[in-house]
């Protein structure tokens, strides 16, 4: 993930290129830190007991935090190349539970010569390979 990709250019990017996979453990404290700093300090994002009372399996990750983690998958891929994340669409399909291993993954799926952009699929999956959050992103490359 922290690999230096400053040599990434529109020309070097190929359809089928992978982003990730990047596997990590999302801790409850990290989710609470996100909830605190973004004004989302509500029980379902901070407390297991209170979340269960809402019918959830335990505290869940805010959808916007999943979006942030996925956008980081893209911006880490961009690195210092000067390219820009210009668009991102996400669907939050299923709650993301902290304290589980999650995997972020993506693929370049299209390139647009006239816009100098690349399109990519991105998603976040759990240990069972279920895609909990899916989306797409557009990256613009400088000429």
């Amino acid at each position: 993930m922290a690999e230096n990709k400053s040599d990434l250019t529109f020309e070097s990017v190929k359809i089928g290129d992978p982003l990730g996979p990047s596997e990590f453990h999302l801790s409850k404290d990290q989710v609470r830190a996100y909830a605190r700093t973004t004004g989302m300090w509500v029980p379902r994002f901070t407390d297991d007991e209170a979340a269960r009372k809402e019918g959830l399996p335990g505290m869940i990750t805010p959808g916007n935090m999943s979006l942030a983690i996925l956008s980081k998958l893209v911006t880490d891929w961009i690195g210092a190349s000067g390219a820009q994340l210009t668009r991102m669409g996400t669907t939050y399909r299923q709650p993301v539970l902290p304290d589980h291993a999650i995997t972020l993954q993506g693929f370049v799926t299209d390139k647009n010569e006239s816009n100098h952009t690349a399109e990519m699929d991105i998603w976040l999956e759990n240990e069972d390979g279920e895609r909990l959050v899916i989306g797409t992103a557009t990256v613009h490359f400088p000429r």
């Binding site: 993930m1 359809i15 089928g16 990047s22 596997e23 990590f24 453990h25 999302l26 801790s27 990290q30 983690i69 669409g89 669907t91 299923q94 291993a101 693929f107 799926t109 299209d110 399109e119 699929d121 998603w123 240990e127 069972d128 390979g129 279920e130 895609r131 899916i134 989306g135 797409t136």
Partner: protein
């Protein structure tokens, strides 16, 4: 000559998909070894575009592109193959509570094939409805392999097929470019048109095929801590 088709896919015409058709076909070219399909069937949600014409893209990629629809009924979601204007007049495809038995019987009468998809999925699949209501009649096949299935859902679908003797199809249910062709259906016969497809679904020989990569075992150790 056999034909392998992904019978369940959503292009950007479906509100929750982000995949352009051309990118789907390009991806299948790129992954032709891992996902050897001859074409796809677009099953856009709750709609059917009679006028859409994909011949130029079919020629460009040498791949079959057929049109169908995924409608929503009181027994869950149903794929409708061989959609005609008579069918879209008879049923409001945007209605999310269509009567499933009528859909199955009427679509068959009008020359199509209505096949319940992802039966193992909660609420929108047959299995859950069969625990509360009598089983549907005249079901010819159901989708037992679905690329969007969660853990246990395909297994429930397979059990349903075993219990009721339905035939089985497969489809990716892809909403993203890179997920196209992960599940498909292999037909003994050659299929070139929607008429061929409906005829084979109703009376031909076919089986679901799974091109999903085998999952590697989940590592116990945690790779990276993002902190």
């Amino acid at each position: 000559m056999s034909t392998t088709l992904d019978l369940h896919s959503h292009s950007e015409a479906s509100e929750d998909s982000r995949a352009p058709l051309e990118a789907y076909l390009n991806w299948l070219k790129l992954r032709s070894t891992e996902r050897p399909v001859d074409g796809i069937v677009l099953t856009e949600h709750r709609q059917f575009n009679q006028n859409a014409d994909y011949r130029a893209l079919e020629d460009k990629f040498g791949m079959l592109v057929l049109k169908a629809s995924e409608v929503e009924t009181d027994y869950g979601h149903v794929l409708v193959f061989g959609v005609t204007e008579e069918m879209t007049r008879r049923f409001d495809f945007a209605n999310v509570r269509l009567p499933a038995q009528e859909v199955i019987d009427e679509i068959a009468r009008m020359g199509g094939a209505a096949i319940p998809c992802h039966p193992g999925r909660p609420n929108v699949g047959l299995c859950e409805h069969y625990t509360k209501k009598p089983p549907l009649e005249n079901v010819i096949a159901v989708e037992v392999l679905n690329g969007g299935s969660r853990k246990g859902e395909d297994e429930r679908s397979e059990a349903l097929v075993q219990q009721y003797g339905y035939r089985a199809i497969g489809g990716s249910d892809s909403h993203l470019v890179s997920l196209i062709g992960l599940c498909a259906t292999r037909f003994d016969a050659e299929i070139r048109t929607t008429e061929d497809l409906v005829r084979e679904l109703r009376g031909g020989a076919y089986e679901p095929v799974d091109f999903r990569p085998r999952r590697k075992p989940v590592p116990q150790a945690i790779a990276v801590e993002v902190k």
